[in-house]
């Protein structure tokens, strides 16, 4: 009863507090305080234990890594000034920036880096980003500002793992003080300090007065979780938000042409595809798979499904991915598709089923494909599955022979923006379900060897050659209908500077240069 009474009195006093706060807010609207509205809740503020882009977006304002991505996904040094990778891709040495401190005053040095890499590499910590560092054998402090990381096996894509937001550096003192609660007491080296976080409502960061990189743009940044698309748009229109994302394509017209508002869209590192189970008939035949690529008009697909806001897929990787190499597109040619199908022994087409999620845009995509394939005689049924059910149907299959998947509409966004993570999990031979996301059950010796060659070397030229070869083979083998490259759509007040949505889907609130 005491508790209930307490709750009630808390409610009453909150009402009064809210009233007061309402007036205070109206009075003080400094232009240096910005509001960013996104579509989901923050989950964690421990970057090493994070896997959602919303959380990474706030974390990237608080923390920094040895390396990072600039707004074009180019790898740049942040807390490391330069770095050397051994040719066999097993040893990575970093020279650290001097004169940097964490927000709690702890100096940033090689010992601090070791604490962080050790934390990530230890499987006992069960961190969500452990797999970025599961190949680490040991981390050695060479001197105060030099640190070397040794791997158990060669891993050519390791530098991209170091640039991943999951590899950002946490204050060793804070890690010790807060232990498991570090996710709500973040302390990094970045330009913004954590102020408060009300789950489901907002998260506020304030300027770090001692930031090593010089003056900071904004006094405060408030992130608000606004799940409803229309509400985010209304917030930008009414001036309550300075930056909103994502903007659904249907709302573009509403915002475009409004004074003081900028609407932008640019390509992500993602790729959208319809995979075909290459171990099951009729998709065992390369001619069938190529025929389906000829049967779909990708430009029309993009117009119909994404209101024209997407790029055409020109490889199994998106152009912003490291080591992307463009291929010759499959033109829209239903006659050729029919001819190939006839050659493969399906002059009258065949029946198949496509699995798709429940998002309306995905279903629209599936329906478009259905209509296109019908033109060449392929009768494709659509099965729309809730995410949990879909996961069970795909990954609760131990033996590829038992797989019931035929076609699958999906997308893939490699968070490391490197060719390895762009290809291996979805097209690598070791990654067929339940191990990975290779829903095409694509097993190609050459591709597997090229992917391995790319991993075994840190030499850029060697890796480039390997991935170019792999992309060529995959394009020709056509385990997917290669569809489109999705775009990030966002809108902001034109007075806003240096807030960018990166191709990997995370937000950057300051310039890394």
């Amino acid at each position: 009863m005491g508790r209930i009474l307490f709750r009630f009195s808390a409610a009453v006093s909150m009402l009064f507090a809210l009233t007061a706060a309402g007036f205070a807010q109206g009075a003080a609207t400094a232009p240096k305080d910005i509001v960013i509205a996104n579509n989901a809740n923050f989950v964690s503020l421990d970057p090493q234990d994070t896997n959602d882009n919303i959380s990474f977006s706030a974390e990237k304002a608080i923390y920094q890594g040895l390396l990072g991505f600039d707004k074009d996904m180019k790898l740049v040094g942040v807390l490391a000034t330069d770095w050397v990778a051994s040719p066999n891709a097993k040893k990575f040495t970093f020279h650290l920036r001097k004169g940097v401190s964490f927000q709690d005053g702890t100096p940033f040095d090689a010992a601090a880096v070791k604490v962080n890499i050790d934390r990530l590499a230890d499987p006992a910590n069960k961190l969500k980003r452990h797999s970025l560092f599961d190949q680490v054998e040991k981390t050695v402090v060479d001197n105060e500002y030099t640190v070397s990381v040794y791997l158990k096996a060669p891993f050519g894509a390791m530098l991209n793992n170091f640039s991943h937001p999951g590899a950002m550096m946490i204050s060793p003192k804070a890690l010790q003080d807060y232990g498991k609660d570090i996710f709500k007491h973040p302390v990094g080296t970045g330009p913004y300090l954590f102020k408060d976080w009300v789950t489901g409502d907002h998260l506020t960061l304030v300027k770090n007065p001692n930031y090593w990189g010089g003056p900071v743009n904004y006094n405060s940044i408030t992130f608000r979780s606004i799940p409803e698309d229309g509400t985010r748009v209304a917030m930008l229109q009414s001036g309550e938000a300075d930056f909103i994302y994502p903007v659904p394509t249907e709302q573009l017209q509403v915002l475009a042409g409004q004074g003081g508002i900028v609407v932008k869209h640019d390509p992500t590192v993602g790729i959208q595809y319809a995979s075909m189970n290459t171990m099951k008939k009729p998709f065992t035949d390369i001619r069938v798979r190529q025929a389906l690529n000829y049967a779909v008009d990708k430009d029309a697909f993009i117009k119909v499904v994404f209101n024209g806001i997407a790029g055409t897929a020109t490889s199994c990787l998106a152009p912003n991915t490291r080591f992307y190499s463009p291929q010759t597109p499959y033109p829209y040619d239903p006659a050729k598709a029919k001819k190939l199908l006839a050659e493969a022994g399906y002059p009258n087409g065949f029946e198949t089923t496509l699995w798709v999620g429940t998002m309306s845009v995905s279903i629209k995509a599936a329906q478009f494909l259905q209509q296109q394939l019908a033109m060449v005689g392929v009768n494709m049924k659509i099965e729309s599955l809730e995410s949990g059910t879909m996961a069970n149907k795909i990954w609760n299959v131990a033996d590829p022979k038992d797989a019931t998947i035929q076609m699958y509409y999906g997308s893939w966004t490699p968070s490391t923006a490197d060719a390895d993570w762009g290809m291996r999990p979805i097209l690598g031979g070791t990654m067929i379900p339940p191990k990975g996301y290779n829903t095409a059950y694509f097993q190609n010796k050459e591709v597997n060897a090229d992917i391995q060659a790319g991993l075994d070397s840190a030499d850029v030229a060697t890796r480039k050659a390997a991935y170019e070869k792999a992309q060529k083979t995959i394009w020709n083998e056509a385990p997917w209908i290669f569809l489109s490259v999705p775009q990030n759509i966002y809108a902001y007040k034109d007075s806003l500077q240096d807030v960018n949505l990166l191709p990997d889907g995370t937000l950057s609130v300051y310039s890394l240069n």
Partner: protein, 306 residues
Amino acid sequence: MLKFLGRRLLGLIPILFFVSVLIFLFVHLIPGDPARLLAGADASYSDIAAVRSRLGLDKPILAQYLSYVSNMFHGNLGTSFRTGRPVVSEIGDRFMPTLLLTLVSMLWSFIVALVVGVISTIKKDKWQDYTVRFGALSGISLPSFWLGLMLMQLFSVQLHWLPTVGFNSWKGIILPSLTLGSGIAAVLARFTRASLQEVLQEDYTRTARAKGLAYNLVIWKHALRNALIPVVTMAGLQFGYLLGGSVVVETVFSWPGEGRLLIDSVGFRDYPVIQGEMLLFALEFILINVLVDILYAVLNPQIRLE
């Protein structure tokens, strides 16, 4: 009265226990692997395995059930799979916003419904009655997400009177409670009108009129009180639903309440939070039913609480 309360509250324990078992079974029957959903879209196999073992989902279901029950008896509802915070604080943080929104919405809609229902009865089949009936039908039929977004366009974007969202100022509660309450006001107004008209046919109201009492006095003092019983029942039900959090209104206005928490948790198969939410809803419904029973006795002394 006290005996009645004591018995009803004691009866809570077996019901809640039964509910908790049902919830556990249901939640684990939903297809989908929380570890895979939590590990994220591009998680590796080892990431997923790590998440599964951290959540204790690699243990047999019976072991999971036993630890759930024993934790529950210690008042521990577990920790959220998704955020790692205790379920009690996850749910607790969302309780006040939902309660606040529910109370404000219920309060205005109940008062409006009574006044409007009475007017509509007094002016039966006149223009006032038609207006009320038209308004009530609209209130019931308008989808709340549409109403919410329209109110927002008008009052926030065009007029700049009220914030679009915002739990942090008193102005922020106006639009969500208008949206949430309009449907309820409409339902309750129709109930009030129907029930009042029925009561006015009864002998005792005719007697009251016959002995010379003013029509308004008969309605407000004698008839309305008796007419309230079905209205209170309906209001109690609505109150229970609202305490569960209105998913649509909370989503449109980004209100940090229980409804959004539940939807997010179902999306991620956050078993402990779903279980906690369901237990809370069950508890709230039972308590509201007790409250409604007590209100019956207050409204009509002939009803005994036995």
